[in-house]
Symmetry: C2
Subunit: 478 residues, 2 copies
Amino acid sequence: MPAPQYDVVVIGAGPTGENLAHRAARGGLSVVVVERELVGGECSFWACMPSKALLRPLQVLAEARAVAGARASCTGPLDVPAVLARRDRFAAQWDDASQVKWLEKNGIALLRGHGRLAGERRVTVTGEGGTTVELTARRAVAVCTGSRAAIPPTPGLAAARPWTSREATSAKRAPRRLAILGGGVVACEMATAWRQLGTEELTIIQRAQRLIPGYESFASEMLRDALERLGVRVVTGTTAERVERDAAGAVRLFLASGETITADEVLVATGRAPRTEDLGLETVGLTPGSWLEVDDDMRVTSVAGGWLYAAGDVNHRALLTHMGKYQARVGGDAIAARATGRAEPGGPAPWTPHAASADHGAVPQVIFTEPEVAAVGLTEEQARARGMRVRVVDYEIGQVAGAALYGDDYAGRARMVVDEARGVIVGMTLVGSGVGELLHAATIAVVGEVPLGRLWHAVPAYPTMSELWLRLLEAFGL
Amino acid sequence: MPAPQYDVVVIGAGPTGENLAHRAARGGLSVVVVERELVGGECSFWACMPSKALLRPLQVLAEARAVAGARASCTGPLDVPAVLARRDRFAAQWDDASQVKWLEKNGIALLRGHGRLAGERRVTVTGEGGTTVELTARRAVAVCTGSRAAIPPTPGLAAARPWTSREATSAKRAPRRLAILGGGVVACEMATAWRQLGTEELTIIQRAQRLIPGYESFASEMLRDALERLGVRVVTGTTAERVERDAAGAVRLFLASGETITADEVLVATGRAPRTEDLGLETVGLTPGSWLEVDDDMRVTSVAGGWLYAAGDVNHRALLTHMGKYQARVGGDAIAARATGRAEPGGPAPWTPHAASADHGAVPQVIFTEPEVAAVGLTEEQARARGMRVRVVDYEIGQVAGAALYGDDYAGRARMVVDEARGVIVGMTLVGSGVGELLHAATIAVVGEVPLGRLWHAVPAYPTMSELWLRLLEAFGL
């Protein structure tokens, strides 16, 4: 039997794989997606969707209780079962039927099983029971397998059956005591959720000196304060040297600082590893377990012939669902264009449809804590490290009338980073209630390279929080 | 005694007057502001601030109750006294002390009294007790007197002592029955507020066939549905032909349709009139009671010598606080530049600091109802009327993951209006919970004339409501 042929074989049906397949199919190509777990991937079932479904009720309740006049109506206890049921609903009860239907509707074939590269443009798929199917890709193979939680080699940690982001977003009840290793986004969001959903003792153990180290330091500080106000203990500058789970089920973490933390569960949120260990990378000259370096159009740089693509977490450019989807649009379109001779000969120019240019300095991210942390582009430090002459403007968001109206005693801060040579914004960080939806304005300003003098004419409606924009520009000196 | 001299005399200390004075003073000029009521004006005491202070508790409570998991915590009755007390606090108990302090801090003189023009660059101020002060402006006089509710000449209406926006935003209790003449922003916001604050029978009587006629028609329809769900009766296509208030205090409105509405109060919200009746316009060749037409740098076009400016509502360009403040920045800067010989000789070019270019097609507005209505730029109809070849893209906001997370069964709609010739967005209308803060992204895109192909690289963070941007661009065909 000849190997089934498709123009494009996509390995991994998370949002990145789905979108890459969709764009390639939209471009007229035949596409098959290979998935060994649930179609919809990490984001739909064990990350973004369930975590935000858990966090939103807590957030909106905090917002309502921050407003005199609404506060007295919201004094009831948190309905934890309803929050968890909402999470289950947003995770579609961990059933991928609707996503499978979406693939069908878009004319994309689905092959369930574990896909492995088997040389140039070939993929072997091992299904349940060990049956295998050999696929040939006429045009391209796209690796969209994403990442998984990296478990550090701390003695006893793996044996202690730690939670990862998967268990933290899908748990059916709050552990009474939860220890979190790591102080990034997952750690802060899950601490925010579980502390309010019933965890009595919650400790974040962060090796670095501050939480969310890639962000402006004021964001780290404000987030730490907020977590501590929720009753989360934050320990920085140390980590677990040894972990053990005893017969009664308790986990003990022996910290470098000398302290011992005892918990019922330990969540490991110290970083991500690429899902490339068992992907047949060795058959195409790559190293199993490595990240896959790609060009701006998502082609793996070290594989000849330009047939292998990698989009999403697995290429290590920007480990965020929305950036994976962005790369998927770019990559899927690039594959289709190349197949029909419409690709740019010398590779795509920046900001053209087949270049994921935003990866390099226009990556947005929202941390759905309370307050929220939202940032796009470069921090002051990152901009200076790139040799830019920058001017930084800070503003207390609570001084904006729209923020004061939004919540009593509103506390928040914004930082705008301006490249003085070009007169454009290269970074924005916002901390405060409800700032997540303010971020896209900054993303457009950064990506659009809109000069400050033109932004001056973009009038924010009064009295919204967005009037922050006016205040930042005034503070800059306009 | 020689007349006190200042470089600039500003008549009216609302946000527009305050900002114009501030920008002129910042430019090195001596400035006096003349105010006969409260420093801070309509917006601070009888419009934006009190109305939004009333509406925000209702809004956030509705948002919390829309989220399973938060809903059960928010079942208490609305705390009406707390909402009203919050409003009083945001209206600073109708005391302008802090605003007076702000003027002082910025080196701006304040003269309390009624200012009237008295010929070229002269203003007579009549204070309490009839004392007068003659002011001379070395550089410019700026009229920033704003607007007041226009009371139509309907027989019996004025005698019925109707509410205007002032009484509607400052009332100490909800009337049991409230009739609202007009169906614009004031009518819809105040109906939303008072219906929830205790008014049992609330009727909006709108002469036009739909509410908020300047907006996309779907926004009118969604807003009407929302008001009706709140229990507001909306009557369109008719108006009151006669009004009478009886001895017992009840107001009867005899409609053109033949129906009679009985209410305890009637709010007139049918339009605005310029506050120029008693301003001495006749001394400079203008007609009392008229709007003051201005150039893009805020100079009154029909007055020779270029010394008379008018910013804010009074020039009838865009009757919104934020646009008045914008014009104030432009006008104050233009006055200062002209005084120091830094003005553009032939008048300012579009989008330069001394041209209020946004007035012509980039005016944003948010209606703080539930759902909110937010719009910037041109509607489809307005764009076509300007001869543009436009393509319109609609999207149901509830289909965005971030919106579904924001509120259960989220219902909202977006419309993007694209000028196909230039490949840029010229208008955006959003209807839905929390969309007000999404608007500024559209304002930046419109004002920045950011091409759609570049907006494609402005990645919205997942899962925020802002992902609507991706959906609109996809629906456009990107």
